[in-house]
Symmetry: C2
Subunit: 328 residues, 2 copies
Amino acid sequence: MKILVLGAAGMIGRKLVERIVKDGGVGGKPVSGMLLFDVVAPKAPADAPFPVEVQAGDLGEPGRCEGLVAGRPDLIVHLAAIVSGEAEADFEKGYRVNLDSTRNLFEAIRAIGGGYKPRVVFTSSIAVFGQPFPKDGITDEFNLTPLTSYGTQKAIGELLLADYSRRGFLDGVGIRLPTICVRPGLPNKAASGFFSGIIREPLNGKEAILPVAETTRHWHASPRAAIGFLLHAATMDTAPLGQLRSLTMPGLSVTVGEQIEALRRVAGDTVAARIRREPDPVVQGIVAGWAERCQPERAQSLGFKAETSFDEIIQVYIDDELGGRVPG
Amino acid sequence: MKILVLGAAGMIGRKLVERIVKDGGVGGKPVSGMLLFDVVAPKAPADAPFPVEVQAGDLGEPGRCEGLVAGRPDLIVHLAAIVSGEAEADFEKGYRVNLDSTRNLFEAIRAIGGGYKPRVVFTSSIAVFGQPFPKDGITDEFNLTPLTSYGTQKAIGELLLADYSRRGFLDGVGIRLPTICVRPGLPNKAASGFFSGIIREPLNGKEAILPVAETTRHWHASPRAAIGFLLHAATMDTAPLGQLRSLTMPGLSVTVGEQIEALRRVAGDTVAARIRREPDPVVQGIVAGWAERCQPERAQSLGFKAETSFDEIIQVYIDDELGGRVPG
Ligand SMILES: NC(=O)c1ccc[n+]([C@@H]2O[C@H](COP(=O)([O-])OP(=O)(O)OC[C@H]3O[C@@H](n4cnc5c(N)ncnc54)[C@H](O)[C@@H]3O)[C@@H](O)[C@H]2O)c1
Ligand SMILES: NC(=O)c1ccc[n+]([C@@H]2O[C@H](COP(=O)([O-])OP(=O)(O)OC[C@H]3O[C@@H](n4cnc5c(N)ncnc54)[C@H](O)[C@@H]3O)[C@@H](O)[C@H]2O)c1
């Protein structure tokens, strides 16, 4: 099995590559080679049991997608995107990266023809949904009503994925990721950053700012769960999907208050006390339009799994990023 | 008010132009000029009480959209599209005409800037919906699940319309038209053609072929209702739409059997006897995925109106196309 990972230098991409290298295969199938691509040069993994090639460049470059699929990868994991905040700030860049690059990729695959039909895993987002929501959570039949350009671009990607799959050009699975929490690394400027920040920073001995009320509810899964989604989407039987190629992933609906309580249980009062309330009406306004809760019945019935408590989500961060040690 | 009509030589375009010329205005506002565009040269209406310019060309030509919006029309009615069957047969042409041209148009509008924000009426279709449907009909919250490339292209058009509206580049209203029935003119190759054919041909003394069962249920409105939708969308207050810019239009859910009964009531047994049953599994397969019934509550509450009986729909055809005379 040959694998192409686009956006391989990103947070999820790096973890995915690491996991595949560790496993030596995907879903029990051995990997014969991997091509990693990103606008930021991806780091080649050490000790991979199969050849790994690394390329840096922009998916929007003429001929780039054609070159990337020329080796006819069996699995393409498409993670390359700019985030919500950047797509909102730079309208043209958002459409260029998040829409045109996706379409370029699908067109490059279609151009190969001759029965070539790779599995394509497309990372969509719950940002395809916008208020007003059904009271009991977003069902699998709920309309896509994005309230951001990023969400619009992801929703269009889902529609293209379904049509290219229906026409037999590729075998697509779109996964609508929850907000991935706890995101490792430095704080970033995403409006959603605080959901991870209020856990990660205190665990690392630093102060975190909470710009919203503790009653704010949101839909989360860990990076480890996200990698599980990707690997399952990479190998699942797609026949039961029919024409509905995109799935809302399982996750956990918790309030910020519940996140903080979990942090207190897992790491103690001193750590939880490192959160400073600093209400920010702008962030509050953005977050108010976001998904609070989903009912991901299709994905669950198809075998996708996520955490069931926020304590678990914090524990994943401690295990995977802090070497398993709960700091004081 | 300056108006630009794209796809002005089509069935709906011709009727819309005729009506605006007759009324001399739109929603009580006088028209100061009109530009008609189509790949087939539109006919300039006789006796228009305002200047009418006619241009022929392809919306996909470089610079074409920029040229068309350079006069800063206040209202743009975007009807240009290729139909379902053609978009399915020619994948590339479908995306070029139905998706790229729409995006070119929106980009040309955005490029003008400086507060220019025309009302854009985009004609979408119930083809954005695909099976499986809710039992009681398609609600306003139902997911867009197109099962054709045409439906995919229309759904993407809706998403772009919403995002460009949200960003303030245009003031969009998307209207999901029912199947327009009775379509005047010659029989065409659309899979939906028989819905009109079984009424139009018998009324004109000719035999019509019915390829599906009489139990086949579908969602209809007359051409006159469609023009009403367009004119209402052109002048309505868009504030109540919020971010949800596309609306399922009202229509009438009837079976083919009910259509035939209405024909018998309106035009008699001799006319209704001109329908020949010739089951076609291919057409049956296509039609099986189509919308049977909608619950267009939002559109109705916003003042959109359609016929409430199929007798009425037949009468519209007799009035508008046959000079009001019921043929024998
Ligand atoms: N992390 C989340 O909470 C979350 C939630 C929903 C969806 N997603 C989606 O999952 C995917 C991966 O998320 P992530 O958190 O790893 O994001 P990330 O920002 O860490 O990684 C995305 C990668 O794409 C690369 N990229 C951007 N533009 C590119 C271009 N033109 N050509 C090539 N590469 C380009 C970036 O350099 C980056 O390394 C993205 O598509 C994202 O939209 C993430
Ligand atoms: N008639 C229906 O039942 C129905 C139902 C749902 C939606 N619609 C939509 O309503 C709109 C009008 O429908 P109609 O029945 O009048 O269709 P039509 O086919 O009669 O008219 C469409 C017009 O667009 C023109 N056109 C096509 N490609 C073009 C291009 N590249 N540049 C410029 N012009 C181009 C065609 O020449 C044609 O005159 C279409 O967008 C259609 O998809 C129609």
